[in-house]
C-alpha cells in the first residue's frame, strides 16, 4: 500500500493535464468545505429568523433539520408569505444550535404544528418594520403604506424596495407580536402551494453538504469498534497492529458509561486515520476482545416468547378502564382473542450517523447530521465538561433521520476523539455500525380479547401489552410502558365500546431503545388495526362499516374519566380535540377512493386500517396478491387529514414515503439479538423496500381543512402494516400475527 500521510493527502492530487472538456479543474474543488447550507446571515437582522440585505436578499433561518420532509422550505415559505417577500429572493440559512429559536428537536412531527404561527408572526413582524421604515422615510402615516412582493407602497404611488429599507428597518424595535394583523388565508401567496424545495437543484447535482461531506483542514477520520452487547467492556485489543498500517495516526479507547445509555458514547476502540477507508478497514487489525457483561445472554426470539406468555397469561397494570370488561366478556355472544408480536427494528437511514468535531479557542465546534442540535450541544458539553455556550453546533443536511439522528451519541464520540487527538475528527459509522449499534425500535407482544353481541356489535375490549420502554434509555429502572407511551394508539383507542380495559406488563430492556418514525404507534396500530379486522370478520361485518360503527357517534374524546392521562402529543385537547368525525371522515374518504367490496380473483384482497397519531387522522388501504407463497402489494392508498397544509406536494411526498416505510417494516423489518448482539448487519440481512417491491399504484389524498396544522412526517406510517396484514387475510384466509411477513411469504 502506498504511504498516505496527512500532508500528501492534503496535497491530494496533482493536475496532470486538462482533458477534452477544457474545464479548469482546481477552481471546481471545494477546499475547506462549508457549503452555503452552513453559512451565517449577512444581512441586517429584523428578528431572530429574518435578515435583509441591502440588495434585497431576504435571509430566513431554517432552525429545524432537513431530513427529507422539506422543512427547510416549508417554514421559510410561511415567513416569506406573511412578509410579502418574493420567494425567488429568499436565501435559506440553516440555523446553528440556539435555544433562542425554541425547540430544534426535529422529531415528533412537530415542525409545522409548533412553528406555523411563530413563522407567520416573524414574517408579519418583518413586514411591519419595513412598512414603518418606509413611513418614517416618507414622513407618512404608516396606515397609508402597504407591502407587496418585496416593495413597500404608499397610497400616493411612491414605493421603495425591501432592500432599500433594510438598514432603517433593522433599527426599529420588534413590534408586539400580538398586535400584528396576519393575512387572511385567501391572501396566501405561498402557504398551501407546492413550492419546490430549496435544495432541489443541489440534490440533483450532488452539490450538497451532508454529515460526511464536511472537511476541516488537518482533520482525521475515525471509525470505532463498539461493544456488541449492551454494557460490554473491552478486554484487550492490538493497538500496535493498527498503528503499523499506513495512514493510521492514533488508536483511542473510549470508555463506556453505566446505564442508562442516554446519549453517551458506547464503549469502544477508535482508529483515527488520515482518510475514511483506512479508518474503516484498519479496525480489523485491532482484534478487540470483549467482556460481554450482564446482557450477553440476551436472545430476542426467546424474549418475545416470554413477553407473549406474560400478556396472554394474566392481568397487568391497568392503564385505562371503562365498565366491567370481565363480565361483558363472560356474557358475550361471541369472543375473539389474538396474540400479536412485532420485532425490534433498526432505522437504517441511507446516511449512517456521522459527526465532525473541532476543539479550538476553548470551544468545541461540531458539524453533524443531527435532528437535535441543542441536545447535541448539551451532550457534547457534558462529555467534555464544557459550558454549553462553548459548544457550537452546525447542522448539515441529513441523509434521512427517522429518529436515529435525534440521539447525539455520535457527536459525543467525535468530540471525545477530537479532544484525545488534538485534531479535528470526523467519526464515520459504517452501515454495519449503524445496524449493530442502533437505538432500536422496541419489540412488542400484545394480547387482545373482544366480545361481540348477537348483532355483531363490540361489547368488550381487553388489551394487554408488553414492550420495552424508550424511557429505559434514560432511566435504568424503567421497565413498563407509562401513559405517555401508551398514548400512541394502544391507550387512545377511540371506540365507543361499553367495556374496555387496557393493561401493561413489565418488559425489561436488554438493548438501547429509541424512537423510530411514528414510534409506539407502529406496534400498537398493528395490534389494534389487525384485531379490529379479526372482530369484524367474526361479527360477519364489513371492516369499514365495523370501524365506523365501533368508533361511534361524532364526539370529542375525553380519556381522563377512565384514568388515562392522554398527552395528545404535547397539545391541549381544547386546541386539538380528538375528533371522531375526522377519523371517520378519512375512513369514508378512503372507502370512496378504492373499489372497496369489488369481487377479486383467488389470492387477491383489500385490507384497511386507520389511526390518529401526531394529531393527524389517517386511513390506509392496501391490496395484495399472493401466488404460490409470493406476497406482492399491488396498490396502496392513504388519506390524511392533517389540518392546514403548508406545502401539499411535500405532504404527498411524506405520505408516499410513509406507505413505503410501513410496507418495508411489515414485509421485512426485523432485528434479532443472539448472545446479546444484533444478528443483522447490512442490507443483505436487514432488507428495506426496493423499487421492485413498490406497489404499482401508490396514491395519497389530503383532506382539505382549515383546522390547526397537525403532524405529517410520521402519521402515515402506523396504519400501513395492519392494512397489509388484513389484505393478506382477505386474499388467503391466513392471519399473520407475528411480524414481519417474510416469516411466512416470499416478498
Amino acid at each position: 500500500m502506498n504511504t498516505i500521510t496527512t500532508l500528501s493527502r492534503r496535497r491530494f492530487l496533482a493536475l496532470t493535464g486538462v482533458a477534452s472538456s477544457g474545464l479548469v479543474l482546481m477552481g471546481s474543488i471545494p477546499g475547506t468545505v462549508l457549503a452555503s447550507v452552513l453559512d451565517e446571515a449577512e444581512g441586517a437582522p429584523l428578528n431572530l429568523f429574518v435578515s435583509l440585505k441591502t440588495d434585497g436578499t431576504v435571509e430566513i433561518i431554517a432552525h429545524r433539520s432537513e431530513m427529507g420532509t422539506g422543512i427547510r422550505t416549508s417554514l421559510p415559505q410561511v415567513v416569506a408569505d406573511e412578509m410579502e417577500a418574493d420567494w425567488t429572493r429568499v436565501h435559506v440559512i440553516q440555523g446553528l444550535a440556539n435555544a433562542d429559536y425554541g425547540s430544534q428537536n426535529t422529531d415528533g412531527s412537530r415542525s409545522i404544528r409548533n412553528f406555523y404561527q411563530v413563522m407567520r408572526q416573524m414574517g408579519s413582524a418583518a413586514q411591519a418594520m419595513l412598512r414603518q421604515a418606509a413611513a418614517n422615510t416618507w414622513a407618512a402615516d404608516v396606515r397609508d403604506v402597504s407591502a407587496q412582493q418585496h416593495r413597500v407602497h404608499h397610497r400616493d404611488g411612491r414605493s421603495m424596495g425591501f432592500g432599500e429599507l433594510a438598514t432603517a428597518a433593522a433599527t426599529l424595535p420588534l413590534p408586539d407580536l400580538n398586535t400584528l394583523t396576519l393575512k387572511d388565508p385567501s391572501e396566501f401567496r405561498y402557504i398551501g402551494k407546492s413550492v419546490p424545495i430549496v435544495d432541489l437543484d443541489d440534490m440533483c447535482s450532488g452539490n450538497t453538504t451532508y454529515g460526511a461531506d464536511v472537511r476541516i483542514p488537518d482533520m482525521l477520520f475515525a471509525s470505532i469498534e463498539r461493544t456488541p452487547t449492551l454494557q460490554g467492556k473491552v478486554k484487550s485489543y492490538n493497538e500496535a497492529a493498527a498503528l503499523k498500517l499506513p495512514g493510521v495516526v492514533k488508536v483511542v479507547k473510549i470508555g463506556g458509561t453505566a446505564l442508562p445509555s442516554s446519549f453517551h458514547a458506547l464503549e469502544g476502540v477508535a482508529v483515527l486515520a488520515t482518510d475514511t477507508y483506512t479508518a474503516l478497514s484498519a479496525r480489523d487489525s485491532l482484534d478487540v476482545q470483549w467482556n460481554g457483561g450482564q446482557h450477553a445472554t440476551f436472545d430476542s426470539e426467546r424474549y418475545l416468547d416470554t413477553l407473549a406468555e406474560r400478556v396472554s397469561s394474566g392481568p397487568g397494570k391497568v392503564a385505562r378502564e371503562r365498565g366491567d370488561t370481565d363480565k361483558a366478556l363472560a356474557s358475550a355472544a361471541k369472543t375473539v382473542e389474538a396474540n400479536y408480536r412485532t420485532p425490534y427494528l433498526a432505522h437504517a437511514p441511507m446516511e449512517p450517523p456521522v459527526a465532525t468535531a473541532h476543539i479550538h479557542d476553548d470551544i468545541c465546534e461540531v458539524w453533524a447530521c443531527t435532528q437535535t442540535p441543542q441536545a447535541t450541544q448539551r451532550a457534547v458539553a457534558e462529555a467534555l465538561d464544557l459550558d454549553v455556550s462553548r459548544v457550537k453546533v452546525h447542522v448539515t443536511l441529513l441523509g434521512g433521520g427517522f429518529g436515529r439522528k435525534s440521539k447525539p451519541d455520535y457527536s459525543v464520540e467525535a468530540a471525545l476523539l477530537a479532544r484525545a487527538s488534538g485534531k479535528p475528527v470526523q467519526v464515520v459509522w459504517s452501515r454495519e455500525d449503524d445496524v449493530e449499534h442502533d437505538y432500536y425500535h422496541s419489540c412488542s407482544a400484545q394480547y387482545y380479547q373482544g366480545g361481540l353481541d348477537q348483532d355483531g356489535a363490540l361489547t368488550a375490549w381487553l388489551a394487554r401489552e408488553a414492550t420495552p420502554p424508550i424511557r429505559s434509555t434514560f432511566d435504568r429502572d424503567a421497565n413498563i410502558q407509562d401513559d405517555g407511551a401508551l398514548n400512541m394508539t394502544f391507550g387512545s383507542i377511540p371506540f365507543s365500546v361499553p367495556n374496555l380495559r387496557l393493561e401493561s406488563h413489565v418488559a425489561e430492556t436488554q438493548v438501547r431503545i429509541g424512537w423510530l418514525r411514528s414510534v409506539f404507534n407502529i406496534p400498537y396500530a398493528i395490534g389494534v388495526g389487525c384485531f379490529m379486522d379479526e372482530l369484524a370478520h367474526a361479527a360477519g361485518r364489513d371492516s369499514v362499516e365495523f370501524w365506523l360503527d365501533t368508533i361511534g357517534e361524532d364526539r370529542h374524546l375525553d380519556f381522563a374519566p377512565e384514568g388515562f392521562k392522554f398527552g395528545n402529543y404535547g397539545r391541549s385537547l381544547k386546541e386539538y380535540p380528538y375528533d371522531t368525525a375526522r377519523l371517520k371522515g378519512v375512513i369514508r374518504q378512503l372507502r370512496d377512493s378504492i373499489p372497496w367490496g369489488e369481487a377479486l380473483p383467488e389470492g387477491e384482497g383489500w385490507g384497511i386500517s386507520a389511526a390518529r397519531s401526531f394529531l393527524s387522522y389517517v386511513a390506509v388501504a392496501s391490496k395484495v396478491k399472493i401466488v404460490e407463497g409470493r406476497l406482492t402489494v399491488t396498490e396502496m392508498h392513504c388519506v390524511i387529514d392533517a389540518g392546514t397544509v403548508v406545502n401539499p406536494d411535500r405532504v404527498h411526498a411524506q405520505i408516499e414515503g410513509a406507505m413505503i416505510f410501513g410496507l418495508s417494516l411489515a414485509m421485512m423489518g426485523n432485528i434479532d439479538f443472539k448472545r446479546g448482539a444484533a444478528v443483522q448487519s447490512n442490507f443483505h440481512d436487514y432488507p428495506v423496500a426496493r423499487i421492485n417491491q413498490t406497489p404499482a399504484v401508490i396514491k395519497s389524498h389530503i383532506i382539505p381543512s382549515d383546522a390547526l396544522p397537525a403532524g405529517v412526517g410520521e402519521p402515515g406510517v402506523p396504519p400501513v402494516a395492519p392494512s397489509i396484514a388484513n389484505a393478506i387475510f382477505a386474499a388467503s384466509g391466513q392471519r399473520i400475527r407475528d411480524f414481519p411477513f417474510n416469516r411466512h411469504f416470499n416478498v
Binding site: 492530487l13 482533458a19 471546481s28 432537513e66 424545495i197 447535482s205 451532508y210 474503516l280 441511507m350 442490507f683
Partner: protein, 153 residues
Amino acid sequence: MQLDINGLAYEIDISPQLPLLWALRDHLQLTGTKYGCGKGLCGACTVHLDGQPVRSCQTPVSALHGKKVVTIEGLSEDASHPVQRAWKQHNVPQCGYCQSGQIMSAAALLANNQQPTPAEIDTAMSGNICRCGTYPRIREAIRDASGQSAEKK
C-alpha cells in the same frame, strides 16, 4: 494512479486497492457520490464506468486503467441532463442522499434503453435503495425523461 474522471485526468498517490468511492470523496473532494453500505447493496455510490453503472464502493481504482469515470458532478454542468430535469419536474428527492446514485443509475438505463418498460425500470433501479420511499416518483421521472408520458395518476 492515473484516473480519468469527468473528462479530467488526475495523477494521485493512492493504493490500487482503494475503492473508487473513497478516492472520489477523500482524495478528489468529489463528495456528491455517497457511501451507503460499502458492500454494493444500496447503490448510493453509483457512478458510470465507460457509460455503465458501477458501485464505486466495490470498484478498486486499479480497475479503472484506461477507463472513463463519470460522477454526478460530471453528468451535466448545470443539472440539465434529461434525468436531472425530470427529477426536478417530479420533485423526486426527499432527503436527497441516495439521489446521486439513483440519477446515475437512471441515466445509464436510458443511455442503454431509450424506452424502458415499467418492468425494465424496476429491474434497472432495484439496486438503488431510497429509504425515504421516492420510488413512485423515480418511476414517473424516468418515464418522463424517456419521452414516455407519465402514468395517469
